[in-house]
Symmetry: C2
Subunit: 765 residues, 2 copies
């Protein structure tokens, strides 16, 4: 096992790299040329303008005010200064609540750490069991850190009562804080929803699986159904088109325009006609003139796009059996979303419409049975992914333990024994390799969630987060404990009687503390510092700036504020809660590392939220029940592991005392679920009624129908050239209108050819 | 283990006792004096009159038509003759669907048995592994039955592929039948609900946890809330009184009246004043005149009852924070029941009102937090009960195995070795002892469910059934397999290496087949035959007849039709599904016993439903999702056990093939749940609208308010003397009215004193 000096080296390396990132950030963010990378949020809000162009040209790109460099940490107080209500106003409730998770970590772990350092550390250190164990199990080596952990307490010691008592105290404290936080977030959400402006999704319900009707079109069928079954409330509806192919064309068109711009810029600079090749990615094939080629391609695609656009509008088969149905009041929508419409629960499925930006259009048309089959397949795939990924992780984990390598491969001993090599391997490598695995994974999980057929981006993200959390739990946490141990103690395992196995596993939990401390430093400290540096967006922005940007508008487009990446960061964050809870009673020395992580991450993310991230949608903190549940899962795992560990300490008669804890914790979870969760899932009628009444009083002549008309249309039908939008109130006019549109659009395409904005044509039916 | 001759003896004993019960039933049911015991349903329906009193007196009591005795099984065709729609009309949907469970058993197991006998039996029998195993594990004795079971197949045999294939076939067949049945029952339920007459619960929602309001009474608060939040739909509401104390008094009064009647009858017959003692149950204390004593007691209680009645009506504290809120249409009620009313999900909880007979009044007042605490305590209690009950069961199970006793207590050998003693012990005793345990248990479980705070009798019963099912699963099924084995093979367990344990357990599943065959015969065959005999109600009826009955009305009251006892019979029934599914691939010879049980029980229960049982409420088959889920649980257990067994057969590489089955089964369960369950939990708006529209057209001038006024009042306020009922529309009149009532009721009580019907006074607020 790693010794204290290994930990020190690792801490030094990671602190240093974190510091380096911070210094780099401090320098880079002051350069005007990077302004759009580090403060995009303000540009998007229209508050910040391009850095002034007065003065020498160099000032436009490099900040020469050296005094500013001295205060390289001055972003910290700036980040902490903004009060929470303003933050909610500035960045949305999702972001504001998200950083509360870090604060929650501090609230839970700071008192726990103080108590653990005050009580458990002295108890462990003075127990002096260390020698006994080493004589008992000679092949297991302990680091000095174990002197402060429960490993140091001899079996059947009366001191273990202190650990059990602390497990109770920590559990109650965690639950108390969790309850308070749930209450606060619920209130914040309800307040936010109540003070929200009018939004289309408040009046709208997404209806899926409209059953086919031989006599009526989908649109007619929907209208008749809701007129009959919600006679006083039904207002208007909007059918959904299967425009997936069209959306692909629009994407391709955008890509071609980018290429054209690139070559045009190149031509302007070098004054030499650039060439490209016709093959894949321009890597092989016939050499041709690039500008001509792409101009031609764009023209061809525009025609195809136009034809497809007409097909979608004209073809009744392009209408999928789903619709956005709007009601006259929020009350009506709340009623429809929460009730079952027909006997057959697989038809006329109603649910809250996601807000327009949040709709995942590709999945609106999946029928019920297919949805079930997809879910089954994805569940099996997730299982496979979770448990096959263990193999590479296991290999990495083995590297984390020098002694194991030496035992398994003794010929490597001379190289590894060099102190410097040893420290680097122990302190840095395993975390990094693990990290790379984890970067690829979320994309796979997101694709899997998409296949499952959820209809809102927020739901997709929540789902991916759940998958990722399971993955991290199994692979990073359990995998590290069990596999690492397994390889370490493989020889003993095979020699000793099988009934001793649980004991050996129990002993290995505290032994893994040093690995996890390293992990926290690599992933937590250095990782968070890298987050604030935004290296990847920085590089991409400057590349785009050089090759694509011509106008101010292009520059606007090149700016990538990014977003919180909720489905990745939250489950990863949960790992810290889990580690903190597990080791709070076992190896409390790990807690300060976690506290540093939470505090540092809180500052960094608060800064990022204020200055950088731009959330794509607003879910009003609807993710909180997931956060709460996962912390509870962590708490229960910690209780079960402590139980397992204590049973190896010949304190098996403590099991009943510890068994009470998971039962109580689970009950607490159920209680919170009953008490709070519906505020995140349903919209109470009373609140709807209050908002309706208020609206009726303040705006008696509101044209709700007009307001809702264009809210839910597929993004490919939305564009800047709103002037040619046609409003069709009656679907029967389809054919006629489509013809009209063709002629109009024909001329329009010709005039605007070559513009990267050619995604024209609003359509509202 | 039991041999084939043991099984034969057991089968003979049980068949004989079943036959005896049937003959006794055939004789007893023909006696006119027992008519009210065996055909109460017809009396309650008013179709059957007392047997004619013409002819000699003896004919009134004994049937002398000897020809009728010859056809002692003629109830069977009579029971089967009634077509299902008529049965639903006659006995309700609950009963009709309940007996479909037996039919479902036949549908599942008859084809499975045919296939198993055609394929698995020959495969097992010709495998001829028997000798090998006995030489391997000498101490385990096998009966001849095992020649037909999977035990006979040698490890790693290719023949095991047949068993795996059959596991697939059986799973798919079971799921197919389950799906079809779910569909049929759903249709039956929806049809039943659609064709139902107007019922108060269709318009009514039960609102609980009305928050306290300092300025308004509960009644005002409820009214204002619903007028505001359901303005177009709210009609009327009815607050709930805490009349639990009053209900107890009414019960006690009834008991005193019974005693008075008993002594009066005694006095009439013997013409000697009967005496009683003042102590507990009249067993000790001062001797006094019984008639005077009870007359006095009744008078005293009547006064107290009156005072309590007034207190309940007058005291605002007797109003609990719950109410039955009725709406103008079924649509309005459906909306209110399915939606959330306020931000705080622990206030204004709305749910379908149970039908008036189904309300469990005692539990309407429990606040939210207390409800959660109660549930926690009951969950822990259930856990304790389930796992502590194992100890006596384990002792009983040990007795089931002669060889084990001989091994543990060798000095008993000479007694047990006698063939007759041996067969009786093996075949009869264990089942009976188990049975007695199981009779006491449901009452405990029902009390536990009541403490949990459910508000409808049907919900209480469903809950108890769930608990009982868990209990049977753990104790009867798993307990029999594991404990029996553990004691049998304790010596081997301790001697051999622990890694062999799963193997030994796997082997023991087929070994338990004979025990379960015995169990099926005792509990199933003889038990069902005892059910039709109705021995306990028969005795009680005749006792009452002798001691209490004076008038024809008393006789009506003495009649106890009983009901299906759903929370007891259904989980017990599930055990047969479980056994059938588990042993279908392992020891198919068990299947015919199960089929006989299902067929026999189907006939018996069909007869009982037609002639005897009188259901207290009608839930429209709302229990079906539970039935379905439990069969699925049985199916999954069977798959997992087969997997365990095969891994001991050195066919571990078959595990992936078998692992697919539980995954698919679980998915099938989810699919069915999504597809059908909401029909059992929610009331679709479309159906509500159709019924509303129809009603509006056919009965435009319906006085719904009048119809709903008295629907939900506590039963103690309901009585036969409806003539003195007062209708209070306004709660503010309380005090005045209460005074009026006192004077009226004072005189009324005096005139009616001594009648057993003195539960007078309707009250509707």
């Amino acid at each position: 096992m790693a010794t204290v000096s290994d930990i020190t080296v690792s801490a030094a390396i990671n602190s240093l790299s974190a510091l380096l990132f911070l210094v780099a950030f401090a320098i880079l963010r002051l350069q005007p040329v990077n302004d759009r990378v580090y403060f995009p949020k303000w540009y998007l809000k229209g508050i910040r303008e391009n850095p002034s162009t007065s003065g020498p040209l160099v000032k436009k790109f490099v900040n020469l005010d050296f005094r500013m460099y001295l205060r390289f940490l001055n972003w910290v107080p700036a980040a902490l200064r903004m009060p929470e209500p303003e933050l909610i106003d500035h960045a949305g409730l999702d972001s504001a609540v998200y950083i509360r998770i870090y604060l929650l970590g501090l609230k839970i772990f700071v008192p726990i750490a103080i108590l653990a350092f005050g009580v458990l550390l002295p108890v462990n250190y003075t127990a002096g069991n260390f020698k006994d164990i080493t004589t008992n199990m000679k092949d297991i080596t302990f680091g000095e850190i174990d002197k402060f952990s429960i490993s140091n307490v001899p079996p059947a010691s009366k001191r273990l009562i202190v650990h059990i008592a602390m497990a109770y105290v920590f559990t109650f404290w965690t639950c108390y804080i969790l309850y308070k936080e749930y209450k606060i977030v619920t209130d914040m959400r309800l307040h936010f929803l109540a003070s929200e402006n009018r939004r289309p999704d408040q009046y709208t319900v997404l209806v899926r699986n409209v059953p086919p009707d031989p006599d009526e079109t989908v649109s007619e069928h929907v209208e008749h159904f809701f007129i009959v079954n919600h006679p006083d409330q039904y207002l208007v509806h909007k059918v959904v088109y299967n425009a997936n192919k069209l959306a692909k064309m629009v994407d391709k068109s955008k890509d071609l325009h980018n290429r054209l711009t690139y070559y045009s810029n190149k031509y302007e600079r070098s004054n030499k006609r650039p060439t490209t090749k016709t093959g894949f990615w321009g890597l092989w094939g016939k050499t041709i003139d690039a500008i001509d080629y792409y101009t031609e391609e764009i023209e061809k695609l525009s025609k195809e796009e136009l034809a497809e656009r007409e097909r979608v509008i004209g073809d009744p088969k392009a209408v999928v059996p789903a619709a956005f149905v709007s009601f006259k009041s929020r009350w009506g929508a709340a009623v429809c979303a929460q009730t079952q419409q027909t006997r057959n629960p697989t038809h006329w499925l109603t649910d809250w419409a996601p807000e327009p930006r949040d709709v995942y259009w590709d999945n609106l048309a999946i029928p019920f049975v297919e949805l079930n089959v997809r879910r089954l397949i994805m569940a099996v795939a997730l299982f496979g992914l979770t448990f096959c990924f263990m193999i590479p992780i296991a290999i990495v984990q083995t590297l984390a333990n020098i002694e194991s390598i030496e035992k398994v491969l003794p010929f490597l001993k001379p190289i590894i024994q060099k102190d410097s090599v040893k420290s680097v391997i122990q302190g840095f490598l395993p975390g990094i390799v693990l990290k790379i695995f984890l970067i690829v994974l979320p994309m796979i999980l997101m694709e899997m969630s998409k296949i499952e057929g959820l209809t809102a981006v927020s739901a997709l993200e929540a789902r991916s987060a759940g998958k990722f959390h399971l993955f991290l739990l199994v692979n990073v946490f359990l995998g590290s404990i069990i596999t690492g141990t397994a390889l370490q103690q493989l020889k003993e395992f095979l020699d000793q009687s099988p009934s001793q196995i649980p004991e050996t596993v129990g002993v290995s939990i505290p032994m893994k503390a040093t690995f996890f401390i390293t992990y926290i430093m690599v992933d937590g400290w250095a990782g968070i510092a890298a987050e604030i540096l935004r290296l990847v967006p920085l590089v991409i922005y400057h590349l785009k700036n050089v090759f694509l940007v011509k106008t101010e508008k292009d520059r606007e487009e090149a700016m990538d504020p990014g977003s919180l990446l909720w489905p990745v960061t939250e489950p990863r964050l949960q790992l810290y809660f889990l580690l903190g809870l597990v080791y709070s009673t076992i190896t409390p020395i790990l807690l300060p590392f976690i506290i540093v992580f939470f505090a540092f991450a809180y500052m960094v993310f608060r800064h990022q939220i204020i200055n950088v991230y731009h959330q794509k949608y607003e879910s009003a903190a609807s993710f909180w029940p997931d956060v709460h549940r996962r912390i509870i899962i962590g708490l229960m795992i910690s209780q079960l592991l402590l139980m397992g560990l204590l049973s190896t300490k010949e304190a098996a008669n403590s099991t009943p005392f510890l068994l009470v804890l998971p039962v109580l914790t689970f009950w607490f979870h159920r209680f919170c679920k009953n008490r709070f969760e519906s505020a995140f899932r349903k919209f109470p009628l009373q609140d709807a009624m209050i908002k309706d009444t208020l609206e009726k009083a303040t705006e008696p002549h509101l044209d709700l129908k007009g307001y809702l008309k264009d809210a839910y249309i597929h993004p490919v039908f939305k564009s800047a050239d709103i002037d040619i939008a046609m409003e069709l109130d009656d679907e029967d006019d389809f054919q006629v209108v489509a013809t009209k549109r063709t002629s109009r659009r024909g001329s329009q395409t010709a005039t605007r050819e070559g513009s990267p904005e050619d995604r024209s044509g609003i359509l509202s039916v």
